[in-house]
């Protein structure tokens, strides 16, 4: 029987982390060198963790599916990374950052974890700068900041529109230094297929070498997953195409609870879908909403070119509905507002599924150069894809699947419900509640990798110093390897008529229609039926060419899509269970008279952590009650 214990340390909120560090059991330096840690995923969270753990003396085995850690999806983050430095003297503080994250998440995150994330954010900026991350600076030579949605202070550090790239390369530089020293062994081009549990503890993984196709066994004293998010479940999303839930899902099937799976952020400003062949949607960073104004024509179906629609005939609907925050309302609010306008017939473009993001006012006020300095590469990217020059004409944007707040349930130590298995970065559920604020993920990923996991992992490892190396000849490895191979052989043997991508596309559509920006019970129930049918069809009619023992990209995709079906069902089950609206989870049945999300705190102030009970069986729900001792629960208002 699983009992959820978040292991939140005693003491006042602001002192919990210091007290924890004071009391945590340590592993002495000599013993650290005898301990192996497997780290799957070398994005921002994984790279930061790998270098930090190796510096402490642990032997790290790191894995990624790309050919090099520098290509992890973190590289694509655009707008920025938050910290509570208060460089602007605008009354920012660790508490205010903590408060903004909790409120932004619509009061569905755990106070203690969020406070810690805010607390280590400042040190993270120090660390990245020291590693050579070229953040934007003012003429004085000091670091520049900008504003992001959902807050009233300027606390976002950035490097033009390539903040993720620069942060990842900063963390990666620490990682490669440890690879050179031999403290990290890097296994690139590997897919994690399964988790190996011995005597109740996570002790290893099964991987597929993506070049040779070989199935491999790797063992360690503990396993950390840093495998990112699963927004690719919608097929079209802002994520890199390889982003996937498979590693986390394998852990889930072995006993790790999966928390709030249906909390997915739909980002308001992506370039709209243009045709049926499209493989992904490109994000236009939220930072653009600092200087861009969002509008649609006041008249339904107005087909005039944007520049010939006079000012008084434009509806700046965010400024109208949310005067206090205007264009900088949080993402979920902005996304739904765009959908509302488009559904009501005011959308623009051929499909009517987009709204304008207009820079003319800012260009007029600040000059083209200033705008180019801030957003040059984003404007270029937009121009390349659409052929429209946003310096002269407003961008067209529409919401797209973007970030998964849900993920593996972890306690304060970032340990899952499987002893010895940890999850960091986007792969866990920990900090963002029902909605993530912009620039909060890089902050969480780097903070957890650099400063949290190196400390909290010793709470587990301090009891493992007598454990010898784990032999990969253990029967559990044999069993897991066999199961992985069987699954791959099965996929290869179906030899049906439809491609893996065709299935993924259809699944994505079901999820977008019924478990996307707006949900209702009827739609979700229908989705569960559709998913089950599609899954059955997949296992009868998918065509995976090629063989096991070679580079086989279709097989890689097939493994992921097979997992997507199972995760999709759980997402719907989670969304059905939560009859309230909160953050990105908008249940039509639960809204205020003004059409805003209506939380039901008396019934749903908990984390829904789901237990796997076998294929095609309903999951079991476990609840972690959320206690708010330091802030008052309020209706989240941005008006």
């Amino acid at each position: 029987m699983i009992k959820l214990d978040a292991k939140i340390p005693e003491g006042p909120l602001a002192e919990k982390w210091s007290l924890y560090k004071k009391n945590v059991h340590l592993v002495n330096p000599a013993n650290k060198t005898k301990i192996d840690i497997i780290l799957v995923g070398t994005g921002l969270s994984g790279s930061a963790a790998a270098s930090s753990l190796a510096e402490l003396g642990y032997n790290v085995k790191a894995f990624c599916f790309q050919d090099a850690p520098r290509r992890a999806h973190s590289v694509a983050a655009q707008g920025g990374i938050n910290a509570a430095k208060n460089y602007r003297n605008d009354s920012d503080s660790v508490f205010r950052l903590f408060y903004d994250i909790i409120k932004g998440g619509d009061f569905r995150a755990r106070e203690a974890n969020v406070y810690r994330a805010a607390e280590v954010s400042n040190q993270t900026i120090d660390q990245l700068v020291a590693a050579g991350t070229p953040f934007a600076r003012e003429y004085s030579g000091y670091l520049d900041n900008r504003s992001f949605g959902g807050v009233q202070v300027s606390r976002t550090f950035y490097a033009k529109g390539q903040t993720g790239q620069q942060c990842l390369l900063g963390a990666y530089s620490g990682l490669i230094r440890q690879i050179a020293k031999g403290k990290v062994t890097m296994y690139s081009r590997r897919d994690m297929l399964d988790l190996v549990i011995i005597d109740g503890k996570a002790r290893g993984i099964i991987t597929r070498n993506l070049v040779t196709g070989e199935i491999e066994r790797h063992s360690a004293h503990a396993v950390i997953l840093a495998t990112g998010g699963y927004g690719t479940i919608y097929y079209l999303s802002t994520l890199a195409l390889g982003s996937n839930p498979s590693a986390a899902w394998a852990a889930h099937k072995k006993g790790a609870l999966f928390a709030n799976p249906s909390f997915v952020q739909i980002h308001p400003t992506s370039i709209p879908q243009m045709n049926d062949y499209q493989a992904k949607l490109t994000l236009m960073s939220e930072s653009l909403r600092n200087d861009g104004r969002i509008w649609v024509p006041k008249a339904k179906g107005d087909k005039r070119a944007p520049n010939s629609i006079p000012e008084e005939e434009r509806d700046y609907y965010l400024e109208r509905r949310y005067p206090a925050f205007g264009n900088l309302v949080p993402r979920d609010v902005a996304s739904r507002a765009a959908k509302e306008r488009c559904d009501a017939g005011y959308g623009v473009g051929d499909t009517g599924l987009s709204v304008y993001l207009d820079f003319s006012k800012s260009i007029e006020k600040q000059g083209k150069k200033a705008i180019e300095n801030k957003y040059g590469n984003l404007f270029e990217m937009y121009n390349k894809i659409t052929g429209i020059n946003p310096y002269n004409e407003p961008m067209r944007i529409y919401p797209a699947g973007h970030y998964t707040m849900g993920g593996l349930w972890v306690d304060y130590n970032l340990m899952t419900t499987i002893p010895g298995l940890f999850a960091i970065g986007e792969s866990n559920f920990s900090d963002h509640g029902a909605n993530r604020l912009g620039a909060g993920s890089l902050m969480q990923c780097a903070g957890e990798g650099y400063f949290v996991i190196p400390v909290t992992i010793s709470s587990f490892l301090s009891d493992e110093i007598k454990t010898p190396k784990i032999p990969t000849s253990h029967p559990e490895f044999e069993k897991a390897e066999k199961e992985s191979k069987d699954k791959l052989h099965k996929l290869l043997s179906i030899n049906g008529k439809q491609t893996v991508t065709a299935f993924h596309r259809r699944l994505g559509k079901i999820m977008w229609d019924h478990c996307g920006m707006v949900r209702n019970e009827e739609g979700l129930k229908k989705a569960i039926e559709l998913i089950a049918k599609l899954k059955e069809e997949f296992w009868k009619d998918v065509k995976v060419p090629g063989a096991l023992n070679e580079l086989n990209q279709e097989l890689e995709k097939a493994v992921r899509v097979a997992d997507f079906f199972e995760l999709a069902r759980l997402m719907c089950q989670d969304a059905i269970n939560r009859k309230e609206s909160c953050g990105a989870h908008f249940r039509e049945e639960s809204q205020t008279p003004e059409g805003e999300a209506q939380r039901i705190d008396s019934e749903y102030s908990y984390v829904a952590a789901w237990e796997y009970c076998g294929e095609d069986k309903e999951h079991n729900l476990h609840k972690e009650a959320l206690k708010f001792e330091n802030i008052e629960l309020k209706e989240r208002s941005y008006k």
Partner: protein, 252 residues
């Protein structure tokens, strides 16, 4: 539109490869180049053929995974554009499009259009970092950096490590890639301490791995999808000479 593709097919590193011609009908102008390749692969799979292996991930020009040599040019005909950002509007009905992998001794072929770029990783591991342990960093604003230096460092730091510079250079030189990292770190005060050893270690590693020399043809700069400037190479050479002289002086 209808196009005729000539694509390099090679089963694995050991097999012999060659061009295979694929006529492809029904390509839409709205497709990106890689969506066109996806479309080709769908057709191949449905016919029972093996799809063409090519590398990609972010599909928005930032991860550096994609890498095709298209009609004799790295990342194809568009300026400062990665293959994944390339659109089919750049091509016309009836075009013949030749698609090859990067070709360089230092990038051995793995399959079809995928090559092994781990030599880039090895160069980075030789010194592409500042040796600061987690926790040892000073307060971020304690060292102001002139904006123009920070901006210039950023311009060098945007390299995505795709390898187009090597593929395009007749000597297979990796100078643009290496110099971008050296410049970034040399321009920042944090990178000064190790500047001398860094440049020597990285350049030595680059030579050891079989990359060629730079003869200043400028092809790398012209084909770099991220607009990395050849001025980085000049800076690296300066840094290298200074480091060598400095090192000799020290050892005298």
């Amino acid at each position: 539109m209808n196009i005729k593709l000539e694509i390099w097919r090679q089963k694995d590193a050991k097999s012999k490869g060659g061009f295979v011609t694929y006529p492809l009908d029904g390509v839409s102008e709205g497709m990106s180049f890689l969506e066109m390749m996806d479309f080709l692969n769908t057709t191949l799979i449905k016919k029972g053929d093996e799809p063409v292996a090519f590398e990609h991930d972010c599909r928005e020009g930032i991860c550096g995974s994609c890498s095709l040599y298209i009609n004799g040019r790295a990342h194809g005909p568009a300026h400062e554009t990665t293959t994944c950002e390339l659109r089919m509007t750049k091509f016309r009905n009836g075009d013949r499009i030749v698609v090859e992998p990067w070709r360089s001794k230092a990038f051995p072929l793995i399959k079809d259009l995928i090559v092994d770029r781990s030599s880039f990783e090895k160069i980075m591991q030789a010194g592409g970092f500042i040796s600061v342990n987690t926790g040892a960093a000073p307060e971020a604003n304690s060292i102001p950096i002139p904006k123009n230096h920070a901006d210039e460092a950023f311009d060098s730091a945007v390299c995505v490590g795709c390898g187009a510079c090597v593929a395009t250079c007749k000597n297979s030189s990796a100078m643009l890639f290496v110099s971008a990292k050296i410049s970034q770190l040399a321009l920042l005060p944090q990178g000064q301490v190790e500047a001398k050893t860094r440049v020597q270690n990285m350049v030595t590693k680059m030579d050891d791995l079989g990359f060629g020399n730079c003869t200043n043809t400028g092809a790398c700069e012209a084909e770099c999808p991220k607009g990395i400037k050849i001025a980085n190479i000049a800076r690296m050479n300066r840094e290298f000479i200074c480091a060598k002289m400095g090192a000799q002086k020290m050892s005298l």
